[in-house]
Structure formats: structure tokens, C-alpha cells
Amino acid sequence: MKPTKTLKWVGLAGLTAVLAAGSATVSAASGTAGNRASAPGITSNSITIGSTQPLTGLAAPGYDEIAPASKAYFEYVNAHGGVFGRKIKYDYLDDGYNPSQTPPLTRQLVLQDNVFGIFSALGTPTHLSVVSYLNAEKVPDLFVSSGCNCWNNVAKDPWTFGWQPDYTIEGKILGQYVKQHLSGEQVGYFYQDDEFGIDGVKGLDNQLSASSVVSRQNYVTTNINIGAQIAALQAAGAKVVVLFSVPAFTALALLTAATLNYHPTWVVSNVGSDPKTLGGLLSSFSKGAAGGALVAGMISDAYLPVVSDSSNGWIKLFKGIVQKYAPSLPWDGNVLYGVSQAYTLVQALKAAGRNPTRASVVKILETRKLTGGPGLVPFGFSKKDHLGYQGVEVVKTGADGVTQTPLTSIYVTGNQGKITVYKGKATKPGSSGVPSN
């Protein structure tokens, strides 16, 4: 037997043990006695939630894995007693990352499919088009898949919650890294021309002096020709280029720069930086001429455990679940994202008690800290704040174009204020793999 195969068997045996242990512990807590149809989308034995996702179109590469990954985790939870005996049904629809598709689809979910809430709806421009609607209808809008700080507007949108660190926080911490470790270099920006990119640039500008930024270029997702912008960065002599871009446009930027023989240090914010996704995109865009090698050395940031770190308990657990419940998915950053988000939702639903209502879930998120999840830092949720994770660590992609390693401590910060080192301890998953609170 080859060593890899042995490892596989060991892994499988480990997983089986985890699963067996899980079913043993939760079977006691499950059962539907006392369950009522306490809110829209909730029956005595099910909870239906909905989402809009880019399953086709320009943002689909990579992001189309997120919802199936969440679903895989829900199926795992369903197979292990569900949430107070209720099975989670996850209904996600394709909006093609087109803000004009999202409103009718969201109304379909709320009015027709009668979902309890919207979960993980993806995209800044897309989700902005329905936030007022969801809040007017008092539908929980949990863990938007976007780091725009537009989700943190408690007075106007009390039903909306973010999840990932907002782009300004990422921009600040990445900016600090550039200032400290790449000092004296001329910096260029390349960002998506909407709240996503603009928020990120706000964070960068908070840290980097105006004189060190030699060129600011942006793009719109409807135009894939970005040659002019990359050439302008090159002409301005930018030795470090910071990107706030979706994966397809990160790949286009790397590829265009390579054809111009332009090799700056790439610093890419989390959402556009998953190495495996980028490697696949690069090889498909260049018809196999380029690949993961272009990603080598890329600097990025993370708020979840490093996806390639198979010694981490969360990675082991989640990877095993995905391999069992959604074997066609690759194991990459997008999948880790989807599973982790699903874990947070199950935490929130469990915390809201046996018969949750739309209002009680929102209240519990504002009053009880959800701890013990896979995130490196705590959530910022409170009565005044609907911000998700509050910080990141800076990571670097190795020469293989896949493995990432942390470069710095874990930092926490807000939209304003100082950046501090996070002192909390890393969490470990419980043996059942299902959140206990």
C-alpha cells in the first residue's frame, strides 16, 4: 500500500469515529417533542432558509462552490439530529451576480418559498438591491457573503448581519503589512469600482501615505478587458499592487501582467485570493499556458484557519464532511467559507432555542456572543454593531502556488481606530462536529 493510500484509510477511520461519536452524543438532545411552527419557514420538523448566489456568470468561478458547501454541512447536521430535531432545508437561487436578477428572486424566496430568512446571499451590488426590501418585510438577512460595511447599519437595517471582516478592516491590516514590510516600495491599487473596492481602498488609505500610492486603477465586472489598467500600473512603476477584486479579475490581472512581463508583489484581499480557484482560472483563461505558478508568492489575508493546513482540527472536520456529503466539490477556500458560514448559522439557530422566531434569532445574535466557531477572531455582533469577524492575519502563498502560511500575528480592528494584536486562544471543534450552544 502506498503511503498516500494509508493516510486516506487513517483519515476515513478517524472520520467514522467522529461521525459515530457525533451521532451518539446528539441523539440524546434531538427529538421534535415540543416543537411548534414558530415562524414563517419553520415547521415542527424543518427550517427552510434561502439564498441568492452567482451560480453562473462572471463571479461564478469559485463562488458557485459556496452554497453547495453550506448545504453539505446542513446535511451533516440533519444526519446528526438537526437543530432541535428540525432538518435544515437550503434553497439557493442563481442571480448570475446581476443586481437586477436579485430582487425578483429574493421576493420568490420570501413570498413564494416562504423562507425563515435569507442566509449567505452573495455579492455587494447584488445584495444591496434587496436590503431595504428584506428589512421592510422584517426577514432575517443573516451573514451576507460580502465584506461591505454597508451591512453594518443597525438603525436602518436591523435585520441584516455581516459575517466576514469588512473590506475596510482588511484594507487597514493589508495596508499596515505593506507599510511595515514593503516600506519604500511604490504601491498601486486595482479594485472593483463599487462599494467592495471603494471600502477596501478606504482601509488601505488609512495606513498608506498618499505619496506612496502611485496609481489607482479600477474595473467593472461587465468589462473583462483590463489591459489598460494593468499597463497604467506598470507605467507608474508600482512594485506592489494591492487588489480588491473577485477571483476572475484577480486571475485576469495576474495573467495580463505576466503577458506584459510585469511582476510586482501581489497583495490580494481575501475574497479574490483563493490559490486553488485562481490556479484553475489561470489555466482555463490561458488555455493551459499559465497556472498556479503565477500565484506563488501572493500575499493575502485570512480570518479562517489556513485551508491547506490539514493538521488543524476544523480543517480535518470540515474537509471530511465535504468529502462525504458533497464529494464533487474541491477542497478550497470557497468551500471552507461556505461550511464555516453554515456552522455559524447552526450556532445562531441553536442559541435561539427550541422555537425560534424571526425576531428572537436577531435578538440572540445581538446579545449572546457566538464563540467556539472556526473563525480566528470573534464576531463583532452587538445591539449597536452587525459586523462579522473583526480581524485577519496576513498569509503568503508558497512556491507550489497552493499552500498558504501565516506571516503575521492575528490582528483585530474596526472601521476606525487602532490595529491591535488579538490575544485570544485558537478554538477546537467539539467531537460531534455540530455546535453545542
Binding site: 446581476n98 437586477s100 430582487p103 413570498l111 469600482d193 463599487d194 467593472v220 461587465t222
Partner: protein, 352 residues
């Protein structure tokens, strides 16, 4: 009894305004009653049908009745939608009728400009230029991002439900009422226009330009007029579209929208106003159906995600094979077959 109905109908036939008005009132009454019976989402879908029917009715006048193809009507809808959004951004409480009228005027003005250029072009050249319009116009929103807010778009406040309808009256139902009313007014006006000298000139130019000139019709002016009428409808459709979506962003006015309108009139039956309604129903309902069909099969996501589009295309091809003259054309010939069959049977019975 039957004779009396017939004579009423005949009398109405001589007064198209009265006949079309009566039909519109009947449809309005039916929608009014039904809107209370169905769910909020169905009302929302009905509103969507009215939005697309309004714009498609305009296009069917241009393409079906006047013979000028336009691949750029999505852009003219964008003119209406942006006018609506900008006006509402400036004054949230503007009366909806005023907002719609301004959107119609703006789109008609754009149509006038474009029609002058278009009337010099024929066939594929016209198609090419209108396609350029569809591609270029939404880009203006990105170029002048300070006014049009770029890709993010401008949020639109939904039309506020009047207080006398009660607190439990849903926004979707009100949207359905407003949209259907606007669509019906458009349809009645267009139907009467098509029965008048305007309609006759439009058809004459479509059928034979030389003959039309010999009959004293100014071909260029007629074509520009067709463009203006059609753009006005697109503008109204765009205004309703903005209310319907709650957002006006360039992503909503891609070439796909223009092609969808063309699909609607081809599927519904070129040149027929009722056909435009069939086409709009097709556009709203089919994505829903194909979506649920695609999830019914357990396919790998790379195939399953793209399946709705593939089914949409396949249905389109099949529909064209089965009903080359569209749904309305198919229904008319079915009706014609039924009538002649009935007449034959009656003749046989009377003679036998």
C-alpha cells in the same frame, strides 16, 4: 340572444376606441378581483408581465407593424428607468403618474434622435446600429458614475400604497394594479393608433416602400414616428421596471434584455399586441419553470447551473418550429379552424 350580442359587437366594431376601452375595462376588472385571490408573489409576477408587455407592445409596433428591427430596446427602457430613478432620488414623493410621464417623454426624445438615424438604415445595418445602442448606453451609467452611481445603481422606492386601501394591502398587489393599469392604457392607445391612418401608414411602409411613397406617405417620417411611439412604450416599460426591481443598475439593461423583448414578440406573435402579452408571460414564467426543472434532476453543478438557460433556448427553438407565427398566430389559426369546422357542421346539419 346571440344575435343581440353580435349586433353590439358590430356596433363596437365601428367604434374601435369604445371596443378596445371595453376590453381593457373587462381585463382591469378581472385583474382587480383576481389580485385579491392570489399570493403576493403571484401579484409581483403579474406586475412583471405588465412591465414586459408594455415594452414588448412598443417593440411589436416597430418591428411587427412597421418592419424595423431593433436590438436596442433594452437601452430605451434604461432611459425610462433612469429618468424614474433620478426623479425619485430628487423628490421621493413625486406622483407616480408624473414620474411615468417624464420617463415616457425622455425615452420618446431618445427614440426621436435615434429614429432619425435609424430611418436611413435597413435590415442588418439597422440591427447592427440598434445593437450598438444596447451595448453603449448602459456604459454611460458607468462613465458618469457621479450621476448614475455606476454599477451599484440607484435604489428606487416602491410606489407607496394609498392609505384608503388599508394597512394589510400588500405592496406587491398595488404594484400589480399600477403596472397593469399602465399596460392597459398603453395597449388601448396602441390598438386605436394601429386602426387609424397611423397604423395604415406604418403597415404600408413595411409592405412596400415604393408603393407607400406613391400613395403619398413620407417613408422617413413614418419610420421616425414608429421609433418615437415604440420608444415611448419602452420608456414607460422602463419606468415600471425600475419600480418592479427597486433598483436601476446597468446590469439590468444588458443586451440580454433587448433580446428578451425580441424573443417575447416573436414567441407571442409578431405585430400583435395580445402576442406581446403572451410573450411577456413566457418571459416571466419560463425561468421559474426551467429553474425548478433543473433542480429536479440531480446534476453536477457545472451542468445544472447552466441548464435553465439551455432549456430556455430549447423551448424557444421548439416554439418557433411548432408556432412560426407565435402563440397569437397559432391561436388565431386554431380559432379559424374551429370556426370553419363549426360552420361546416352547421351547414351539413341544416342541409341534412
Amino acid at each position: 340572444m346571440g344575435i343581440r350580442w353580435g349586433s353590439i359587437w358590430q356596433a363596437l366594431g365601428k367604434r374601435p376606441l369604445a371596443r378596445h376601452g371595453l376590453l381593457a375595462v373587462i381585463v382591469a376588472a378581472a385583474v382587480l378581483v383576481l389580485s385579491y385571490q392570489v399570493s403576493a408573489y403571484t401579484n409581483y409576477e403579474v406586475a412583471g408581465v405588465a412591465v414586459f408587455a408594455t415594452a414588448a407592445a412598443g417593440l411589436t409596433v416597430l418591428t411587427g407593424v412597421n418592419g424595423q428591427i431593433s436590438l436596442g430596446h433594452g437601452a430605451l427602457m434604461a432611459v425610462g428607468a433612469y429618468t424614474t430613478s433620478l426623479l425619485l432620488e430628487w423628490q421621493t414623493n413625486l406622483p407616480i403618474v408624473l414620474v411615468m410621464a417624464a420617463s415616457v417623454a425622455a425615452a420618446a426624445a431618445a427614440g426621436l434622435l435615434f429614429g432619425v438615424a435609424a430611418s436611413r438604415l435597413r435590415g442588418p445595418y439597422l440591427a447592427g446600429v440598434t445593437l450598438a445602442l444596447a451595448l453603449a448606453l448602459p456604459q454611460l451609467a458607468l462613465h458618469f458614475a457621479s450621476i448614475f452611481r455606476g454599477e451599484q445603481g440607484i435604489p428606487v422606492t416602491p410606489p407607496s400604497v394609498p392609505g384608503w386601501l388599508g394597512a394589510s394591502f400588500s405592496g406587491e398587489q398595488w404594484l400589480a394594479w399600477v403596472s397593469v393599469a399602465a399596460a392597459l392604457v398603453t395597449m388601448v392607445l396602441l390598438a386605436n393608433l394601429l386602426r387609424s391612418w397611423v397604423g395604415r401608414s406604418l403597415r404600408a411602409v413595411r409592405d412596400d416602400e415604393v408603393a407607400a411613397v406613391l400613395a403619398g406617405i413620407h417613408v422617413g417620417r413614418t419610420q421616425v414616428m414608429a421609433f418615437v411611439i415604440s420608444s415611448a412604450c419602452a420608456g414607460l416599460g422602463g419606468s415600471l421596471f425600475a419600480y418592479w426591481l427597486g433598483l436601476t443598475a446597468p446590469g439590468g439593461f444588458s443586451v440580454t434584455l433587448s433580446l428578451q423583448l425580441l424573443i417575447a414578440i416573436v414567441i407571442g406573435g409578431m405585430g400583435s399586441l395580445v402576442g406581446a402579452v403572451w410573450g411577456a408571460i413566457f418571459l416571466i414564467l419560463l425561468p421559474d419553470l426551467t429553474g425548478s426543472l433543473a433542480t429536479a434532476f440531480n446534476l453536477p453543478s457545472s451542468i445544472g447551473n447552466n441548464l435553465p438557460l439551455a432549456i430556455f433556448g430549447a423551448v424557444l427553438v421548439l416554439a418557433m418550429l411548432a408556432f412560426p407565427r407565435g402563440v397569437q398566430g397559432g391561436l388565431t389559426s386554431l380559432g379559424g379552424f374551429g370556426r370553419s369546422h363549426w360552420r361546416q357542421r352547421r351547414t351539413r346539419r341544416e342541409s341534412g
